[in-house]
Point group: C2
Chain length 446, copies 2
């Protein structure tokens, strides 16, 4: 456990930091209460998140919720929440289900979020109303010496690359880490338990599921049987967690908590690697729209799928691919098995016995695009046509803009979509993204 002792010394807030956090929280609650009184608003500030539960890492942010009565119209809730947010400096308005404020108070990052006061999760009126209940649940059950176990699990998942439920990561949230420690007792016990998990693994604490979940990992929310706390966890990330756990237990090392940063390959190295692999490299770049990561990433994922489907559908087999953001561009990188195809493409028609077979034959006989046929293969009509685009590059240039790429990305694509193939695709600003695609080592192996 020497490794974990060393890690805790690095991730646990110092006594000074704790003192400062306490002051920040106390002062903010006072100032919120003062504003509420001045305005005559009935509401109560509630500390939530990891600071409330004492499971925070050093450098944490403070999450301050303000609970309003359930009969307050939503519009007023939002306006009042934003008004309270003005207590913060360098603030930005954020959007989830409703707007809230993120900013700074005496050097500490703070979120001030309005919510409705509810007694249990079934009464909730907005997506964040459960959060104070989560804080209560954990705080009431976590033994004093388990806080450090949660800290270890959070830091470890972060190092392994699977921390955070946000769209960019699709991994393990802080609350999920807390529940896993509650369920299994200790950091190492969570890792050990995970060796027995598989796709669709279901974990329940005090409350049974009230519905069927289909996600890769299911951890039923103990304050709401209809919610999967692990719903964000993708299959890849779950598999990475389990593999990392096996490796860590076999040889614990600080590397898992603090991996070396990925060193980008140079353009020259990338070119040599591309030559060695023999594949075709293509980059599609779209100016990134000015939206938050949680709005952007689902669109990146959708666009990436649409581009890959287009390539595969037209015969350009994809060996590997990823999306990324670099230099204010959304990047879609494809490593193609076949970047160019013959001019001829076979188009299969209906069986010769069906009624509309005649239409197929009439359509393609002497058509401008027909190279040969229609002819019979098996019991179907087929025809050899001239392929529209014989390179993946041409195909993407001609058709990528017409795909469903997500609202903001689609708008941006119409004006800014660029396709690069071969050496131009390997330009310096894209080198880190290509490195992330081609360097398959796990973070702790770097």
């Amino acid at each position: 456990m020497a490794v974990e002792g060393n890690i805790l010394a690095k991730i646990r807030p110092s006594a000074d930091e704790e003192r400062h956090l306490s002051e920040v929280v106390r002062e903010l609650k006072e100032r919120v209460t003062t504003v509420l009184k001045e305005k005559g608003w009935e509401a109560k500030p509630i500390l939530v998140g990891s600071v409330a539960k004492g499971t925070h890492l050093t450098g944490t942010e403070v999450d301050l919720f303000v609970a309003f009565p359930p009969d307050l119209p939503r519009e007023d809730l939002e306006l009042r929440g934003l008004a309270l947010g003005e207590l913060l400096e360098r603030r930005a308005r954020m959007y989830a289900e409703h707007p809230y404020t993120r900013g700074w108070y005496r050097g500490t990052e703070v979120e001030i979020v309005p919510c409705y006061r509810v007694q249990d999760a079934t009464q909730r009126m907005s997506a964040v109303d459960r959060t104070p209940l989560h804080a209560d649940y954990v705080l009431g059950r976590l033994a004093e010496d388990q806080a450090d176990e949660v800290r270890l699990l959070k830091a470890w998942t972060q190092g392994v690359g699977v921390y955070g439920a946000e769209a960019k990561v699709r991994g393990f949230s802080g609350y999920l880490c807390e529940l896993l420690v509650l369920r299994y007792g200790r950091f190492r016990a969570v890792l050990e338990a995970s060796l027995g998990w598989s796709r669709g693994q279901k974990i329940e604490l005090d409350r049974a599921a009230t519905k069927e979940f289909t996600e890769a990992l299911v951890v039923v929310d103990p304050i709401d049987g209809g919610r999967n706390v692990a719903s964000a966890v993708s299959l890849d990330q779950l598999a990475t967690f389990v593999h990392a756990a096996r490796e860590y237990l076999r040889g614990p090392s600080e590397r898992f908590f603090f991996p070396r940063p990925l060193k980008s390959l140079s353009v020259a190295q990338l070119r040599a690697l591309a030559k060695r692999r023999g594949t075709g490299l293509i980059a599609v770049a779209i100016r990134a729209p000015a939206v938050t990561e949680d709005v952007l990433y689902p669109q990146l994922r959708k666009a990436h799928g649409a581009l890959e489907d287009l390539l595969v559908r037209e015969g350009f087999a994809v060996h590997d691919a990823r999306f990324d953001v670099a230099d204010e561009e959304a990047l879609f990188l494809f490593e193609l098995i076949v970047p160019a195809l013959p001019r001829v493409i076979r188009h299969e028609g209906p069986p010769i016995w069906v009624r509309n077979a005649k239409e197929f034959v009439e359509k393609w006989t002497d058509d401008r695009r027909t190279l040969s046929g229609p002819f019979i293969t098996g019991d179907r009509w087929s025809v050899d046509l001239v392929r529209d685009a014989t390179t993946a590059e041409d195909l993407l240039r001609a058709s990528a803009k017409g795909l469903s790429l997500g609202k903001d990305l689609e708008k941006s694509a119409r004006r800014s979509l660029k396709v690069y193939e071969g050496t131009p695709a390997l330009k310096a600003p894209y080198a880190p993204a290509w490195t992330r695609l081609l360097d398959k080592r796990f973070p702790w192996e770097r």
Copy 2:
């Protein structure tokens, strides 16, 4: 019907030919009977085939069966049959289920085949014992004016390229043509009826099927409900028949009966065509083993499938292919979408949760062939390896001989298999075979 009148004038034997045929048959029967008497063998010569039924085309052969009693040992049946075959000139010993003799008698081609005398098909002891019953069935039912209808159907299927049940053609036998005319009355009525056929079409005459048939076309043998007279007809050939029927009925022409011979493209034309199509052309050549076509063609079909499977399995997508025989070589021609592939190939392993996942990871970590990985894709292990052969040519050179190619072909392949790619594949002796692959026109369209 002017077309069909003209055709009949060409395909119906002349009065002189008929007179000659009658003499050949009468003399042969007499000479067989004389030999049988001399040897003291109990048996009876029976004329079968199209001459017996009066449905023969000009230039036909004569099929003379000799029916022995069922208690004769098979060995004696074979020896006696071959002894009778010595009545023929320029004779050759043929092999089906048992040996028989093919040769010439007074300028007419003749087969002398021994069989067992049976009353109905259920008693049959060898594959040919049904044949005299077929002759009886047709002769007893075919109206005088229907013989010409059979002649038209035979000549038409021949012209269209679907005549003959042999392995090379997989089409319509003479007996099948006769049954179709019996069923539908006239040549044109058969064609009209075929417009309503589809895959698995089942036709019964006087006898219902006594089992389930799975072939493309099912015509239940009226003298044996357990036999499909159309069992040889492939799906392609059935579809071609139906399409040709539709075209013929729309515009009857002698072209269907007597198509122009396919004119081979020159090597220069083939090269230009290959360039225009952009595909990769590969020819695999094996010295043809000295066996009959009915032995060779099933092996060609098997070998062709094995070669194509190998290519596809290793990622070399096949656009089109055919097998052929040219200049005493068995030829396997492939038009490839992708004749060359990158050096890297992804090899997918087990899900990370299964017991043998560890073995996969251990096997490929630091293996000589590993380019990167093992890494996780979805919930599976994967690894990028160096591909064994990056061209279809190299793959075939390395692996084709190890495939299951059919007994005789396999033996020949071990010593004589050659692989040609690109220009060398388009050499002059192979030009007709390449033309048959690339010129997709139907015979009547030439």
